[in-house]
Symmetry: C2
């Protein structure tokens, strides 16, 4: 186990960028490869679909476990609900598996559990099954919550697709984008990542530093009711840069977005500048990026803005089949390529 | 977070015995309580059932991750498949969420993944969704695999219940036992727990020390084909003692088993004696306990014995409504109460 040429696991392998993509396609997919189901593992979408059951999982290792605006419990539940919604699922039930260090306070665990339960209740999704493991305190630093979820096909989805033109799949999948679609973000970017980082490192940034963690059932349903939504994705690890690059690659299209239209809060932007990281590569936990049939985009935007978690939504760009990759038009009139992030500039935020 | 009367989490809270039962009923259920679905969280069965979708989850923290007969990968997949089967599900798909320490060898992770994939393939269940998180090496000692699974109602289940008389549920649930049922174990007990313990502590016991970890689809289906199976449970944490006590309590019946009929391998029995632990309280990963309508028991036994993982199956006792708790008739003609284990005599084996 210790040959000198041996390849080791690095933090970047779990960071949601290019290195993770390589790791998954070189290591994980060849081992597990299977194409079972309508949306299979090998498609690496937010969830899988098998017999019209949407199914997803995530382990949550956020540190610290409590942060302004949320905690490990609300994060785990929101993340899983949002992954189900992102394919067009109507969440049916959730599981919660906890690994807890011996010696942690029961009060802390109860707070996390209560927060998980409150979040699930907000979204009206029951937690139906779970597991508890306790390990020695030297073996793990903080609790890990792994949540999985199942969903049925959303009843609004068929009607939504009637206004979306011809698409590759009948789910809100990563390969569904086409020329002319408008790109909508449902709120400001970077809030979650900067908040967790600030809390962990004790930076004390100025402003209402607060995570956006939330289940987005209302946001998504408002769009589906209007119709024309072709794809949805929650820009978690790797942020908007990762989402748009994955979409472009899987849909074989280019995407052009305008920097000045992308909502980024003042405190996120100044903190990012101070730290030398790009807010567009930072993970979010309460936002969707939507690709919407052009004729429906304004109406979807309006509907999303009318929801509690979508007030700052904006149309930020469009899909263009005649360009390559993801192009960011800067405020001063220039253009730059918005690259797939290599690693994660802000680790352990989800 | 450090008041002197503060209650702390202990290893026993995750150990599958009485302390864990208290922890779940005092801490977890009040926080999460919900009665959604046909088999809800509050029933604490092997899986939940919602809209005829069986759903389960487990985090696996076995240490060491490789042991004779299996590893973290085969264990995680087998455990989840068996939990789905235990309610009467026909597994549809699995998820695999990995938390890996930075600096682990890629070769090791690939071996674990390949083992997970091989096990899933053996049972013909695809792994359809997953997640990878990498954390700093000081923060976690070994990889943690969390698997969840979904299943549809097994097509053999309705016919099986036709020969089972009147039962509380139409699933193989913990509360389905009734007076006169025969109790079958599908093979020898304690193999897994003693193997992992021996490997971790370097005991070097004599004999073919080897875990029983395996997916039990053939074992269960052989019984369902015969019919009359009222309940199935995989005796993991807390072993047979935990399974029988949970069954007795939830079904409001007593259970009497005969010690000499319970299959325990020679090396398990001598190792247990040496360590002062009861093989009936040790976790297994490739066994079911079945409660079967009396008239069908011999035929079910024969069918189970004809499968690869059921060769050592035995009828070990029966359900008696006129006795209290779980009674073990000893080889010398005495009787003792087989108590619910308090903690786990062999920690971190699953």
């Amino acid at each position: 186990m210790s040959g000198k040429d041996e390849k080791l696991i690095s933090l970047a392998h779990g960071a949601g960028g290019e290195k993770m993509e390589d790791f998954i396609s070189e290591m994980i997919l060849p081992a597990l490869e299977n194409d079972s189901g309508e949306i299979s593992l090998s498609r690496l979408d937010d969830s899988s679909v098998l017999d019209d059951v949407v199914f997803t999982t995530d382990s949550h290792t956020v540190k610290p476990v409590f942060f302004p605006g949320g905690d490990l419990g609300s994060l785990a539940i929101s993340g899983t609900i949002n992954d189900l919604l992102a394919l067009g699922g109507k969440p049916l039930g959730l599981s919660l598996a906890m690994v807890i260090p011996e010696g942690d306070s029961q009060k802390k665990i109860k707070e996390l559990l209560t927060s998980a339960a409150d979040t699930a209740e907000k979204a009206k999704v029951p937690i139906t099954t779970g597991d508890t493991k306790v390990v020695e305190k030297d073996d793990i630093d903080e609790p890990i919550f792994t949540t999985s979820g199942i969903a049925k096909r959303h009843p609004l989805l068929d009607k939504n697709f009637e206004s979306a033109g011809k698409r590759k799949t009948r789910w809100l999948s990563d390969d569904n984008l086409k020329d002319g679609d408008k790109i909508i973000v449902t709120g400001s970017l970077g809030d979650h990542g900067i908040t967790v980082l600030s809390e962990r490192e004790g930076y004390g940034f100025q402003g209402d530093v607060r995570s956006d963690v939330a289940p987005l059932h209302e946001v998504l349903e408002s769009g589906l009711k209007v119709g024309g939504v072709a794809s949805a994705k929650d820009p978690t690890r790797g942020g908007l840069a990762n989402t748009l690059n994955e979409w472009g690659k899987k849909s074989s299209v280019g995407i052009e977005v305008e920097e000045e239209k992308i909502p980024v809060k003042e405190w996120v932007s100044s903190a990012s500048e101070m730290l030398g990281i790009d807010p567009l590569s930072i993970g979010n936990e309460g936002k969707f990026v939507l690709s919407v049939e052009s004729s429906k985009a304004e109406e979807v935007l309006e509907a999303v803005r009318a929801t509690r978690n979508g007030k700052e939504a904006a149309i930020i760009g469009e899909v263009k089949e005649d360009i390559e990759g993801v192009v960011l038009r800067t405020e001063v009139g220039g253009k730059r390529i918005l690259e797939m992030p290599v690693g994660d500039p802000v680790p352990r935020i989800c």
